[in-house]
Symmetry: C2
Subunit: 354 residues, 2 copies
């Protein structure tokens, strides 16, 4: 490894401030830029590096291409005691989902449970970002989103009509880290394929298939194939139901209507997301639930391991450890990443990140 | 194939009546026996043959061993506008979940969305049974259950602390069959392993692993290994969150507390299930959603197929076709199955099924 491939560490505050200045310069109102920047930097802080600052150039391009409403009126389109649909008015997805989560938490405090969906939203970063706040407030949260590019055909098909539609679910724990599952419904997320291509590595069998249904191992040929859903037809089913819950139900894009935001920077995406919030206090004393989660976490972690396995992980635990580490040591960014951000800074005529 | 391996067909009514008589004879109140029998026969009608009449001998054994409360007081333990926890009082799971689904539908009609969980419940048959009624009433339903035997270790582990915890989700359609996903969170359900063993066949790679983490192909050796979750750590995560939502949240069994109902017929299982019902009318005109589902179904079904693939299926479509076929032609039962039911009839001193 040469000297200049060593990652460069930046603090959360520095990263967040840089993103905020860039987004405001691109056209967002300052308060909105601050809010989006904090969530993007948080994505990097927890190691969701495919959904943090790496997306900044693309977001800036979309804002400057008129693909984002920079003075949105995010509002409730319809509501009842335990549900609402939020019209995002084509705002940045982070703003729409922050609004939606706050609304769901408020409703869940009285109704016990609440479901809030969005339409006319946009890419909002990693799914797990939106379960954190409920989890910190003694609530369980489930999040469903329609991805912003279709990479998955129905099982047996080869037209990419579905996205890797992610699911995140978060549970508060007591003294253990919260359990947070954040997963795409495909064996590998598309970002992992891109990373393999960058490193010149082959993909393991099972990630992608080609148009003959045969394993595709060369990530350079990714465009000739499709991602494979987890459990075959089961993962296809999961991607479909997440799309129905987050897209169709909210009047948002699904199937062929999904706009590929990697190639089209101007057309409104009409992205849909849904969040379900469950207030623990409606069920029992939250401390009882949290103690049961702690107990279960330890039962699983301390159970007998297969030969060669060093540790049994709980969902969200690795992310939690990264968050602790990066908060102290800074967030590692690759040199290529920093160079890309420097070019963006130059283009926006703002000070570089480092 | 010899003559006597040809399945024997029975009508839904005949099957349901037989089950009802058996359950009442075992000790259930007649009205309860009727209700459980109708749901069990419906499981067979839709092709969920691992969860229908095949379970009757086991249910009868449990009832007669005192493992089921035959005069239960199923009641609401706690509730708010959009949620409730139902205490099943150790009744047959079918009764508890029928009660829970009705309550969730009633609450969803006003609150828009409702979540109802159960504790002190029992095995309730196939997950998809409980999304049908909401779906027929312009509602979306999600169902989560803790399985009644642990066959799944955490990822990297070999202590079976988790069950194949199933998920079912149903969406109403317009003129197309409803979309109904019903899946275990493992590549294969344990019932499929048992079926392979019965037929003397090997399992495909990927269903089970042994205590070295190596593929286990011989179903006769199933006790030496574990089921494999879909997508590896992802399926483990799904099984865990389903267990938390259906078990822990409701104060029901989860992890090491799960009673293996195949080997223990007397200890109350404290089974937990949860159902989420979403009333389409709260979101928009239900006809709009249903037309969008029809459109999506056709888009997927008519999309380009991989070589050799005859048809792209939607979740629930094969089950729908079976239901139509069996309603006309009768429900096929294997000779072995019929013989087992004849033995049960003899034991209970009731008329045999055929």
């Amino acid at each position: 490894m040469t000297q200049n491939t060593k990652p460069i560490s930046v603090t959360f505050d520095r990263l967040s401030t840089f993103i905020s200045i860039a987004l405001a310069r691109a056209g967002l109102a300052q308060a909105d830029a601050n809010r989006v920047a904090a969530l993007m930097a948080e994505a990097d802080l927890q190691g969701s590096d495919g959904h943090g600052v790496i997306r900044l150039p693309q977001y800036v391009k979309r804002i400057r291409s008129g693909g984002i409403n920079t003075r949105p009126n995010i509002h409730i389109a319809t509501e009842r005691a335990a549900m609402a649909v939020v019209d995002g008015d084509n705002a940045m997805g982070h703003l729409v989902m922050s609004y939606a989560v706050d609304l769901a938490m408020e409703k869940a405090r009285t109704a016990g449970v609440a479901w809030v969906g969005s339409r006319a939203s946009n890419h909002a970063g990693p799914a797990s970002l939106y379960v954190r706040k409920p989890v910190e407030n003694n609530m369980i949260a489930l999040y469903f989103a329609v991805g912003n590019a279709n990479h998955l055909p129905p099982w047996g098909g080869m037209e990419m009509l579905l996205s890797t539609n992610p699911i995140a679910v978060g549970f508060p724990a007591g003294s253990e880290p919260a359990i947070v599952l954040d997963m795409a419904t495909t064996v590998a997320a598309y970002g992992k394929v891109k990373a393999k291509a960058k490193r010149g590595e082959q993909m393991p069998e099972g990630w992608m298939i080609d148009r003959q249904g045969k394993p595709l191992l060369d990530p350079q040929r990714a465009e000739e194939g499709f991602l494979v859903p987890i459990g075959g037809h089961k993962g296809y089913g999961l991607a479909l139901i997440v799309g129905l819950l987050a897209g169709t139900l909210n009047g948002a894009a699904m199937g062929r209507d999904v706009v590929d935001f990697n190639h089209d920077h101007a057309t409104p995406t009409n992205t849909g997301q849904s969040v379900l919030v469950i207030d623990l206090a409606a069920f029992a004393e939250p401390a009882v639930f949290k103690a049961a989660v702690d107990h279960l976490v330890r039962e699983l972690r301390n159970s007998e391991r297969l030969p060669g396995v060093e540790r049994i992980w709980l969902p969200g635990e690795q992310s939690h450890l990264k968050r602790q580490k990066y908060a102290v040591e800074g967030i590692p960014l690759s040199v290529g990443q920093v160079n890309e951000l420097s070019a963006l800074a130059l283009e926006l005529e703002i000070a570089p990140l480092v």
